[in-house]
């Protein structure tokens, strides 16, 4: 097998991977970086983030406010030392992006402008109109082009980590244009592969978000943390699931049900002021808003459309000028995909799977329990997001923790013992290769992969959606166990080498099945309701038993083992989450 020698291998070239690569290059230009991604960097899903990135910069704000909003927004499942570090670093990272050329929207005097976002007490979300993620990604990618120590391996699909001697020493990846598998031998590896929304049928996520990195780490023995916490964004377009940013509501948009009634006032989010009140009504947190939709649907107060049940997002009162300035892409998307111009019409929306709070277990330095292995961004769980992420914290997170992952991996690589005998690593890599080549040898007997993915989607939506129960989750777990068995027999309909997207799709479904398995079992074991994890059979939060992170450990032949880890609480004792007029 071909071997590519590098110092630090980074899997994923979205926001977190690029930020990590630049951090390595800036901290030590002598360290060689291999930036490995299954897509060209600018295709990474960071590109689709719209609303903005949170960081305290204005005089009326404070780091303490951002800290408290984040911790209470996460229903006290966040590690508070990590949140404190995060809010402290956030302004510096966002300023750094400004220096690198990010076209942030501005105030008339030239200072960076900020907007309101859900669950945030003060407006502190930096934004570039409604394409903030797009601009962040392209700024990072373009900036990365000036560092000669960064070598890109675009359209390489990573399949397995190489762990030997108790530490991560590389990975195996397939060059998609040839089908060749290569080993990257590295002193440290950073996983930055993003989320896993594609395991659900209805998601804002791009088709590339398939849990690859989570599954790689999981199979290598790293636990997945807090996987039961899946965020539904309250305002996706029906049919496609295209995201309509929370910035719509930050700018003053309102949500109404079929009677034109601002229904959020019935869910402890009122009063329904005519102006946008912070942490109230439409500026409540995403979990609460998505749950409110579910209740409206139960009461028959949603609107029936050919795409299913929806509520309406009303932006008309903002006026054409403001919509064009602040939300131009939203106008285009709504007009194109559902035929509703928000300047003149109500826009149909409904909750849609958006973000994984859970992910690869890391500490505050982005290090996993396996020496030499780091993770950052949506694939990781530090955790600053706890049981519910606040909108606009994730773009900042991938900067803060992507940067940390790069710096700490660089330090580790400089100090790492020389790697063991290369032949032992190659032996590991050969095992990984066999996992792929075996797929080519299977006879035609299993389920088609597209049907398998459909069944996975159904199992997750039916059992592990906005509201869950023992019964629904057990059914999901059973179905997933059966699908994992089916997957063991799946065969390839395309056995070619060059750009075989059917093979990639097959491997991706394998990754999603493992991550989904961790989600369903973690959710089944958590017998309480907290943040985005709502159990119909355990309606209350139970701090005595579950003020803990869950850790799911991989088990190749059966159910994952679920363990628990204490939450780090430094200065905010668990309290009641309060939104609306009582804040």
């Amino acid at each position: 097998m071909d071997v590519i020698e590098t110092d630090i291998a980074i899997i994923g070239a979205g926001g977190a991977g690029l930020r990590a690569a630049i951090a390595v290059a800036e901290s030590d230009p002598q360290l060689k970086v291999a930036l490995i991604s299954k897509v060209y960097p600018m295709r990474s899903h960071t590109v689709a983030a719209e609303g903005g990135a949170a960081g305290v910069i204005k005089q009326n704000d404070s780091l303490g406010f951002h800290f408290h909003d984040t911790v209470s927004g996460g229903d006290w499942l966040c590690d508070q030392d990590a949140v404190e570090l995060f809010v402290n670093q956030a302004p510096l990272e966002l300023t750094q992006l400004e220096h690198w050329g990010c076209p942030w929207s501005r105030e008339p005097d030239g200072h960076v402008a900020v907007r309101s976002f859900g669950g945030m007490k003060i407006e502190r979300t930096w934004f570039a109109a409604d394409k903030s993620g797009f601009h962040i990604l392209h700024t990072l990618f373009q900036t990365s082009l000036q560092y000669p120590s960064i070598s890109r391996f675009d359209e390489y699909y990573s399949t397995d980590l190489v762990v030997e001697d108790g530490r991560c020493q590389g990975l195996v990846a397939m060059e998609m244009r040839t089908g060749l598998l290569r080993m990257f031998r590295a002193k440290a590896v950073i996983i930055a592969t993003g989320g896993a929304g594609w395991m659900f049928p209805f998601t804002t996520n791009g088709a590339i978000k398939t849990a690859d990195g989570m599954a790689m780490a999981y199979r290598a023995g790293v636990p997945l943390k807090d996987m039961e916490f899946v965020q539904y964004h309250p305002t996706g377009l029906p049919g496609t699931g295209i995201l309509l940013t929370e910035g719509c509501r930050g700018e003053g948009g309102i949500l109404v049900n079929k009677d034109g009634y601002r229904y959020l006032q019935d869910y402890e989010l009122g009063p329904p002021d005519p102006w946008p009140r912070k942490k109230a009504m439409e500026l409540g947190p995403r979990d609460r808003l998505s749950q409110a939709f579910w209740h409206e649907q139960q009461k028959g107060r949603t609107v029936s459309t050919r795409w299913g049940e929806v509520v309406h997002l009303d932006l008309r009162h903002l006026g054409e000028a403001k919509i064009n300035e602040r939300l131009p892409m939203i106008r285009d998307l709504a007009t194109s995909y559902v035929g509703a111009d928000p300047v003149h019409e109500l826009v149909p929306v409904r909750p849609v799977v958006h973000y994984m709070m859970g992910g690869i277990h890391t500490d505050i330095d982005a290090a996993t329990p396996v020496p030499g292995l780091y993770a950052a961004g949506e694939c990781a769980c530090v955790s600053i997001n706890g049981a519910n992420r606040l909108g606009s914290n994730s773009l900042t997170e991938l900067l803060v923790f992507g940067g940390r992952a790069g710096r700490h991996a660089a330090q580790y690589a400089r100090e790492a013992r020389p790697s063991v005998d290369g032949s032992l690593l190659l032996k590991r890599a050969e095992t990984a290769r066999k996992r792929v080549t075996d797929l080519f040898l299977r006879e035609d007997q299993g389920k088609r992969i597209a049907l398998l993915r459909k069944a996975l989607n159904d199992a997750m939506e039916d059992g592990a959606g906005i509201y869950r129960s023992e019964e629904s989750l057990k059914k999901s777990c059973d179905e997933l166990a059966e699908l994992r068995r089916c997957y063991g027999r799946v065969h390839l309909e395309d056995k070619s080498n060059v750009f075989n997207t059917h093979l990639i799709y097959t491997l991706e479904v394998g990754s999603m099945l493992e991550a989904a398995h961790a989600i369903a079992h973690s959710a089944l074991q958590r017998k309480e309701s907290r943040g985005s994890h709502q159990r119909l059979d355990f309606a209350n939060r139970d701090d005595e038993r579950y003020l803990k992170h869950s850790l799911a450990y991989y088990n190749a032949d059966g159910d994952p083992r679920i363990d628990y880890l204490d939450v780090t609480i430094t200065k905010s004792p668990p309290g009641k989450r309060v939104y609306g007029g009582d804040v």
Partner: protein, 253 residues
């Protein structure tokens, strides 16, 4: 809820088995609000799993799914089936690019050109982070904002008559990006970029056919950027001759 059944005529090429590209036809039952990408995905999931193409976001921002649709370079995720009158839709890989397989084209040339125009902030002096952001008024932002919107879908290269004739031409998207940084009030790199931008392979190769701007799905107007750069390069050529040229490219922002 089938709205109508269409025929897709898709160019196929599998270098391991095909000696040359060929067309293959598929019958697809479409729904009313489907885009062409939905129809292609239907083929992949239900009819032929061997079809290869790139896609991800399905919302016209990742830039993966640029392809020739009835002879025009378009994003498959933003081209609605209902807007294509014919029952048969022809889909081919982006013109002017080498085919790797089926609808997947080689991007190496474009990626190399993107890097060559130095698309990053170049400063004479860095400002410490602790001093906060650079001030930039909305008017200063407006000077380059449009040119930041390129998603690198490469539809402009597929439409460009100059690139078709001479692949050395740096081309619309990369030149527009150079212009984007040149026009940014935080940047001092215009002079450094000029060596590439105003070279034989740069702006002077453009014959202002405007095809790039007409097909751009994000309305970036690369042709306009190139014409502005031509004016700028001409002015600086005269400045140089008259001994008026300044040391940095930061003037006139």
């Amino acid at each position: 809820m089938t709205y109508r059944t269409i025929e897709l005529e898709i160019l196929r090429y599998q270098p391991e088995t095909d000696t040359e590209p060929r067309f293959q036809e598929y019958c697809v039952p479409c729904e009313e609000d489907w885009v062409v990408l939905d129809a292609v995905n239907y083929v992949k999931d239900h009819l032929d799993s061997t079809l290869s193409y790139r896609w991800s976001c399905h919302m016209a921002v990742c830039g993966s799914c640029g392809m020739m649709i009835d002879g025009e370079p378009k994003l498959a995720c933003k081209t609605f089936v209902r807007d294509l009158p014919a029952r048969k839709i022809r889909i081919e890989p982006l013109a002017n690019f080498p085919i790797e397989r089926d609808l997947v084209v080689g991007m190496d040339d474009f990626m190399e050109k993107l890097q060559r125009v130095k698309p990053y902030i170049i400063r004479d002096q860095q400002r410490p982070l602790a001093d906060g952001e650079y001030l930039q008024t909305p008017a200063q932002l407006a000077k380059f904002k449009q040119y930041t919107l390129c998603i690198n879908c490469c539809c402009c290269y597929a439409a460009c008559p100059e690139y078709a004739l001479r692949s050395e031409f740096i081309g619309p998207a990369a030149l527009a990006l150079a212009h984007r940084y040149n026009q940014d009030s935080r940047d001092h790199g215009a002079r450094e970029r000029e060596d590439i931008v105003a070279s034989d392979e740069g702006i002077w190769d453009c014959s202002f056919a405007d095809a790039c701007s007409q097909v751009c799905p994000k309305h970036v107007d690369p042709a306009g950027a190139i014409q502005q750069m031509k004016v700028g390069a001409t002015v600086s050529w005269y400045q140089e001759r008259l001994g008026l040229r300044k040391k940095t490219g930061a003037e006139n922002k």
